[in-house]
């Protein structure tokens, strides 16, 4: 459900980035710290570097910006996972009243409730429950469904592939469609050119960005299934059944991303290094693809990266419209049925998915932008 929550997210990041730039600009670039001298430049390089303070061995390893980046990023991932796991654990304990009683209903006999509580370990002290929970998680044990009695890991194993397929396809579509579109729009409308095109693009993308995926989904179902009868309404049967859910999921994020790409490209085209590139009299294609695009992309990822994580959760709504047999339908059903262990497990899986996407986004950013690895986050 990226669109309903996204505008604030997008903006927050934008400001953040501005602040970041400010910081990188004040910091002075360090140069000449390597101890390796160039064979062809021995005379020039030697004296300056030889006496600057330098630390050998382990510290030198830490001196590698990539290792430091990896260490820092890994640390952040671990903290996030811990927060996620703890959050999932606390979620159940924060529910007012007795979750087991709530799940089994008021008519359930007291003995059954008590037995269930005992089985779930709900009568143990909190810290012990927490320790047990962590231990079980490490062993791959997500608990047992209160309703079906099946292990939660099995339920997840059943449902995860359908959701993952959907998310990955939508992810790919959104990225692949938005970048060329945004770039082309930026080039076409730069410097106030082609006002009508700009108006059409901006208003169209605002509209698409605002409509949440479940409404897009309903619209798509109406047009393609009800009116035209082209695609199956629901279920996961054959490649054609993927078209509408993937579209529904990707359209919103894609249009937001395309807007960001356009805005960032326009900003980059104003940059001084683009003027340098033009002063070198490079052909336009080279200016746009070699100089503008990589910079616009790094900016886009910084600003829009969280959007892609949001798509993971967006599957919930799309799945419910298309009766897609994934985690999304499972979690909603489980919440309504108060099957808390399942909810807990699915939330955990979604959370991990989001963290994974964010990690991929950060690594992509680091690869694209050499400065980001030395940037503290």
């Amino acid at each position: 459900m990226a669109p309903p929550f996204s505008p604030a997210v997008v903006r927050a990041d934008r400001v953040d980035r501005v602040a970041l730039c400010g910081r990188t600009k004040t910091g002075r670039a360090a140069g000449g710290q390597d101890l390796i001298t160039e064979p062809d430049d021995v005379t020039e390089a030697m004296p300056v570097t030889s006496t600057t303070a330098s630390a050998p061995g382990f510290a030198h390893l830490l001196g590698n910006p990539w290792l430091r980046f990896a260490a820092r990023r890994l640390g952040r991932l671990l903290v996030s996972v811990w927060v996620l796991v703890t959050g999932a654990f606390l979620m159940i304990h924060l529910i007012p009243g007795d979750p087991v009683r709530a799940a089994l209903g008021n008519t359930a006999p007291v003995e059954l409730v008590e037995a269930r509580r005992e089985a779930l370990g709900l009568n143990d002290p909190l810290w012990q429950q927490y320790a047990d929970y962590l231990r079980h998680l490490v062993g791959g044990d997500f608990g047992t469904s209160m309703l079906s009695g099946l292990p939660v890991s099995e339920v997840i194993g059943d449902r995860l592939p359908a959701t993952a397929e959907l998310a990955v396809l939508a992810f790919a579509l959104a990225v692949l469609a938005s970048i060329p579109l945004g770039l082309a729009m930026a080039v076409l409308t730069r410097g106030g050119r082609r006002k009508p095109v700009e108006l059409a693009f901006t208003s169209g993308s605002v509209l698409l960005a605002v409509v949440p995926e479940f409404l897009v989904a309903v619209g798509l179902v109406y047009v393609f299934s009800v009116e035209l009868g082209w695609a199956p309404v629901a279920m996961r049967q054959g490649p054609s059944s993927y078209v509408l859910p993937v579209l529904a999921l990707a359209v919103g994020p894609a249009s937001i991303l395309a807007r960001i790409v356009r805005v960032e490209t326009l900003a980059v085209l104003q940059a001084e290094y683009i003027r340098t590139a033009r002063a070198k009299r490079l052909p336009d294609r080279r200016v746009y693809l070699r100089h503008a695009l990589p910079n616009a992309l790094t900016a886009t990822i910084t600003v829009g990266g969280l959007l892609l994580g949001g798509m993971v959760a967006g599957t919930v709504l799309a799945e419910n419209v298309f009766a897609w047999p994934g985690l999304g339908s499972t979690i909603v059903g489980s919440i309504l049925a108060k099957d808390y262990p399942v909810v807990q497990g699915v939330v955990l899986v979604y959370g991990l998915g989001v963290l994974l996407v964010n990690l991929v986004v950060d690594v992509a950013l680091a690869l694209l932008d050499p400065r980001s690895t030395i940037r503290e986050s």
């Binding site: 002075r28 360090a30 140069g31 000449g32 710290q33 020039e44 004296p47 300056v48 006496t51 600057t52 303070a53 330098s54 830490l62 430091r68 503290e376």
Partner: protein, 320 residues
């Protein structure tokens, strides 16, 4: 009118791997009623020293004293500061009158009418008509804003005013106005001032004493005429050479290794004398001067002192 003293002041930024010492064991005195000009290249720690003095940046070591006593923590602030960028130093949402009024110590001027008069007096002091008090900063030019910032600093009834590059963001045609004002204010109010700039010519015009800063250390300090006429630290010499206008520069008198040396990285300052990788009279040129690499030079206690093992002055027989 008071004497401001920095005693062995150290300021650090960041922590762990990214820690850096922006100001390193600085001794500096702003004598009562005098203007001390602090020059140095950007990143040498001038602003950090200023921010530490007014309490915006915590001090990692040493003491900052006013007339021999530590600065008071609350209440009236005897130190005031004027910042470089006139576009960021005034709240765009406040009239300049209320910006100035805010800085008037509580209790100093009781009553709304009296405060208004005080604001008018301060505006007049910086050559702005009193009726400008109702203006927002957006309606003023850069030079006018800088004068408002000066008025705000004076509103705090300071004993010492610190001016951090207050002319460098201004257009050339306007810098002169602000410098004239600084000089007039100093003469009228006999304020002690720490005047920070990177331009030696500007410093020469307003200061009684000059302190030269390099990579977090004061490398030369002395009466203005003496420092300018007889620079003892090679870095001061370089600054002077760069500031000397007219005619092409004699850059070829120094060896290429020195002329093209890179500015040092403040995160990894050079050992010994911090200037040695760039010094035209240091170990690069005189290989026997290894002491520069190993031992940090300190200035002696004389009124005009330089932190250099090979102080270059004809007037100083101690130097070889």
């Amino acid at each position: 009118m008071s004497e401001l003293t920095f005693e062995d002041v150290t300021v650090r930024y960041g922590s762990g791997r990214r820690e850096m010492t922006a100001v390193d064991r600085v001794h500096l005195t702003v004598p009562s009623g005098a203007v001390v000009g602090l020059v140095g290249e950007s990143g040498s720690g001038k602003s950090t020293l200023a921010r530490a003095a007014v309490g915006l940046t915590p001090v990692a070591g040493g003491r900052i004293l006013l007339d021999g006593r530590p600065l008071p923590r609350g209440g009236r602030r005897p130190l005031q500061m004027v910042f470089q960028d006139p576009y960021s130093s005034l709240d765009p949402r406040m009239t300049i009158g209320s910006s100035i009024a805010e800085a008037i110590p509580r209790g100093a001027v009781p009553g709304a009418a009296a405060r208004r008069d005080e604001v008018a007096r301060l505006l007049d002091l910086v050559d702005l008509p009193a009726d400008r008090a109702g203006c927002h900063p957006a309606e003023l030019s850069g030079g006018q804003r800088q004068r408002v910032a000066l008025a705000r600093a004076l509103a705090g009834r300071p004993d010492v005013v610190i001016a951090d590059e207050i002319t460098s963001a201004l257009d050339v045609s306007i810098q002169g106005t602000v410098l004239n004002l600084v000089r007039d204010l100093h003469r009228e109010l006999r304020l002690s001032m720490l005047f920070i700039t990177h331009d030696l010519a500007v410093v020469r015009y307003v200061s009684d004493y000059i302190a030269v800063m390099y990579l977090g250390r004061i490398v030369e300090y002395g009466p203005a005429e003496s420092v300018l006429a007889d620079p003892r630290h090679p870095y001061t010499g370089e600054l002077l050479a760069a500031a000397r206008r007219g005619g092409p520069q004699a850059a070829d008198t120094v060896p290429a290794s020195v002329a093209d040396a890179e500015p040092a990285d403040p995160h990894h300052p050079p050992t010994g004398c911090r200037f040695h990788p760039r010094c035209p009279v240091g170990p690069l040129v005189h290989p026997d001067r290894t002491v520069c690499r190993d031992t940090a030079p300190t200035g002696d206690g004389r009124p005009h002192r330089a932190a250099c093992h090979f102080v270059s002055s004809a007037a100083d027989p101690a130097a070889a």
